[in-house]
């Protein structure tokens, strides 16, 4: 009996191993493993370098949950200041996004490699777009506050500049992805640059531009709620004030308002995406 099993095993094993040889392992597999191992090593190193004070972590966690307890119930009494501030944040986001969309619509067509009038010009615009996109909105806000003073204006400018950077990039990308035959056909028919854009490019990329705009508006509403932390107006300022004065109950109310704002925008844009 046992001999038989041994025989069977002998028969089976070569089969199994040859099977394994037949199925080529996916190429990415080893690479993935190396990445994961490097990641773990880097993680340990980073954690060591951060030098986190673990007793503080423990004490702070207890304090955090006590504070969360103290936050309840939320204090709605200051709604007549909080709600206008929330609306101001919304307005800052809308205005900033609209300005960015309008300017990027012009620049993106000049920056797209396939329809630009001048390659060097296109590269320059893209370089500036990268610069605008990489510097965070709140740093832009700080710069504009120094230049034009406190209030919603630096917030609008900061959001407009940062969004402009991203929108130029993605708009130009969607224009570059479009089918080149259409442009050629229009060119052959003797259309000039503006006619090509109006008749060939805009109808093709319109839905892509629309969905990018909606996504950007969603991001900008999130960002406009935090701009107040540096003094650029809106609901962020109310939250900073409440936290600084240890008015945790108001802080919870403001946080709830921010949550509702961002959450409802996410819901609405999900609906819109389904429709588009």
């Amino acid at each position: 009996m046992s001999q038989q099993i041994g025989k069977e095993k002998q028969n089976i094993y070569p089969l199994v191993s040859s099977d394994k040889e037949d199925i080529a392992k996916p190429k990415g597999d080893r690479f993935l493993k190396i990445i994961v191992i490097c990641g773990v090593l880097l993680f340990v190193f980073s954690l060591y370098q951060l030098n986190i004070d673990y007793t503080n972590l423990w004490v702070g966690t207890i304090e955090f949950f006590t504070m969360l307890g103290e936050m309840f119930p939320p204090d709605f009494s200051e709604w007549q200041y909080v709600i206008p501030a929330a609306i101001e944040s919304l307005q800052v986001a809308i205005l900033g996004t609209v300005i960015a969309v309008v300017i990027s619509l012009v620049l993106a067509f000049l920056a797209a490699e396939n329809i630009t009038t001048n390659k060097l010009f296109a590269r320059t615009i893209k370089g500036f777009a990268t610069l605008m996109r990489v510097i965070p909105t709140i740093v832009w806000a700080l710069i504009f506050i120094v230049a034009v003073g406190l209030g919603p204006l630096p917030g609008v400018l900061a959001i407009a500049i940062h969004s402009l950077g991203m929108l130029i990039k993605v708009f130009a990308q969607s224009v570059e992805e479009m089918d080149g035959g259409k442009i050629e056909a229009l060119k052959a028919a003797g259309a000039n640059w503006f006619q090509i854009i109006a008749q060939g490019v805009i109808p093709t990329v319109f839905t892509a531009l629309l969905s990018w705009t909606i996504l950007r508006l969603e991001i900008d509403i999130g960002e406009s709620t935090i701009l107040g932390l540096v003094g650029a107006g809106g609901i962020g300022w109310e939250l900073t004030r409440a936290m600084r004065t240890y008015d945790f109950n108001s802080a919870l109310f403001i946080t709830i308002v921010i949550f509702v704002m961002i959450f409802s925008v996410e819901m609405i844009s999900n609906r819109l995406k389904l429709k588009v």
């Binding site: 990415g28 980073s46 504070m67 230049a147 949550f259």
Partner: protein
């Protein structure tokens, strides 16, 4: 013929209504924020003055102390991503309809992560500063929270898109829940897991440059300090370092993603 004209008419009407609505919103926002082109154009002089006289040229001699800050930012972003991804991995298996042990758990986890996700990281940092004090702990913790919120959602979406035939086959052979997860689900999920985590690393590094502004340590703290002390040339150096860090992580992660997918 008449029908087509009607459709065209309603379409045109729709476009006009939407355009008017958007214009109305814009005007309403412009009035609400006291926006005036006059102020913007008169501000251009001030802005360019500030940029060319105060910000530039960057103070290269400050780069030594700033280097520590930018590395701190990198470490925070990475640690936040790894711990966040670990926790999100567990949560996403509970939150995906294909792998959840019970629908009630799915709803609870989704609601919990939605609350975390829809409160911006900077606001988490502001709340956490009150209990942990200024320092990297706050920055790391708020990045962990942000990562959990984002990654649980995208991981769960990835899990819901996997091929269920494999799971059924494993079910038929009598595998238990954990065997199915390990053999059927995880191998399909791994590339998505790594790619999304890398994208999250990008987001974290962006976020951790600003979280320092409310007391989370790193380069954000250095930028905030520089502005408060009017050391604008140091600020511009810090911004350049941020630029280098963000662009190089973007480059690296996109290269890794390309090879995986």
């Amino acid at each position: 013929m008449g029908e087509i004209k009607d459709i065209r008419k309603t379409k045109r009407l729709q476009t006009i209504v939407i355009l008017v609505f958007v214009c109305g919103l814009t005007v309403w926002s412009a009035i609400g924020t006291d926006f005036s082109f006059y102020e913007v154009f008169s501000g251009i002089g001030l802005i360019s003055n500030f940029v060319f006289l105060d910000l530039l040229p960057p103070d290269v001699s400050a780069s030594n102390s700033l280097l520590d800050a930018i590395l701190e930012t990198l470490y925070m972003g990475f640690v936040g991503m790894v711990i966040g991804a670990g926790i999100a991995l567990v949560l996403s298996f509970l939150a995906a309809s294909t792998t959840t042990p019970h629908p009630v758990i799915q709803v609870v986890v989704r609601a919990f992560t939605s609350i975390i996700r829809n409160i911006p990281g900077l606001i988490w940092a502001l709340i956490l500063v009150a209990s942990y004090g200024i320092g990297v702990t706050v920055g790391t913790l708020s990045l962990i929270l942000g990562s959990i919120g984002f990654l649980t959602r995208v991981f769960a979406d990835t899990l819901e898109e996997i091929d269920t035939g494999k799971i059924e086959a494993l079910h038929a052979t009598g595998s238990n829940y954990f065997q199915i997860l390990a053999q059927g689900v995880f191998p399909q999920f791994l590339p998505g897991f790594v790619a999304w985590s890398l994208y999250n690393l990008e987001l974290n590094i962006r976020a951790s440059t600003i979280i320092g502004m409310v007391g989370g340590g790193g380069i954000g703290f250095a930028i905030q300090k520089g502005i408060k002390l009017f050391q604008y040339k140091e600020v511009s150096m810090a911004i350049i370092l941020v630029l280098i860090l963000i662009l190089s992580t973007e480059f690296l992660t996109s290269k890794i993603r390309e090879r995986i997918i």
